[in-house]
Symmetry: C2
Subunit: 170 residues, 2 copies
């Protein structure tokens, strides 16, 4: 089996991370992976914001938990976030960002870095306190956030759950 198939079949979502930071060179490669995802009609109306400041990550997770009524929510305490954002009015923003996130997850795996999709901001990114943090990160006001990659070196393994029908029409 080739290494690409191997990575796709072996990647798991990781929900526990060590304190070891992910080197900036690797994070830069993950962003390159994201930028190379396909995009509806080639529009690429996305931006990728990499957050490695642990205190800012902690505060974003804490405020997210407060709004969602989940005290102690910590986004699994990652050492880095990559936040794809996309023009609110883009008809393909959600799909584009999802493909970019999957590229980030696979690229991370290829470097031994664990990852998990954080979807908690999807419905609350325009809550004033969250939007203020996103603005502080430089995320444009006319962008929305669908999903976030939480990243770090794995402190636990992930699991695969097989599910989904398959049919061939020949």
């Amino acid at each position: 089996m080739n290494e690409v198939m191997q990575a796709i079949l072996s990647r798991r979502s990781i929900r526990q991370f060590t304190d070891q930071p992910v080197p900036k060179e690797i994070l830069e490669d993950l962003v390159q992976a994201a930028l190379h995802a396909p995009s509806g009609m080639g529009k690429k109306t996305w931006k990728f914001t990499v957050v490695t400041n642990k205190e800012k990550i902690r505060l974003l997770a804490q405020e997210t938990g407060r709004i969602l009524g989940r005290e102690g929510y910590n986004m699994y305490e990652p050492t880095a976030l990559i936040i794809p954002s996309n023009l609110r009015e883009s008809p393909y923003g959600k799909e584009d960002d999802a493909c970019a996130l999957e590229n980030i997850f696979l690229a991370a795996y290829s470097y031994g870095v664990g990852s998990v999709w954080i979807n908690q901001l999807r419905d609350i990114c325009d809550e004033p306190s969250i939007r203020a943090m996103l603005t502080e990160f430089g995320i444009p006001e006319d962008h929305t956030v669908y999903g976030i990659a939480a990243l770090g070196y794995p402190a636990a393994s992930g699991q695969y759950k097989e599910a989904g029908d398959v049919a061939f029409v020949e």
Copy 2:
């Protein structure tokens, strides 16, 4: 650079295919790749339908073109389609299917198979004539189709368009 990064950075959307069919063993691997994508809350409410019947692909493309007012629309005449469908009521259906499609695209690339995202069914999959074809393919009535992978051996190369801002918050 590892092979996973190499594939992610080198994959391009392909819009012209040869007549050479994609072997069933490869299509089965592409479906495995799709099934290993992450899924919101691990729900995996998806189904993957592989269509290799050229006449059925031609008719689906033709009817899509008729509805969209695009005479001669042919979905780039692929030799295979993989149609992810997802429970209409799933809150994560679009993201899940997008991640699965990106896995399919990268896995296809790893086998030298070209691919492109077909988004034309997204808004018309419940048009009666289209739904009748999907039903004939065995796609459940309570499933919707967001995107489709058109697949085949490349008859032309694809292009990369660089676009998207990047920022680091350290």
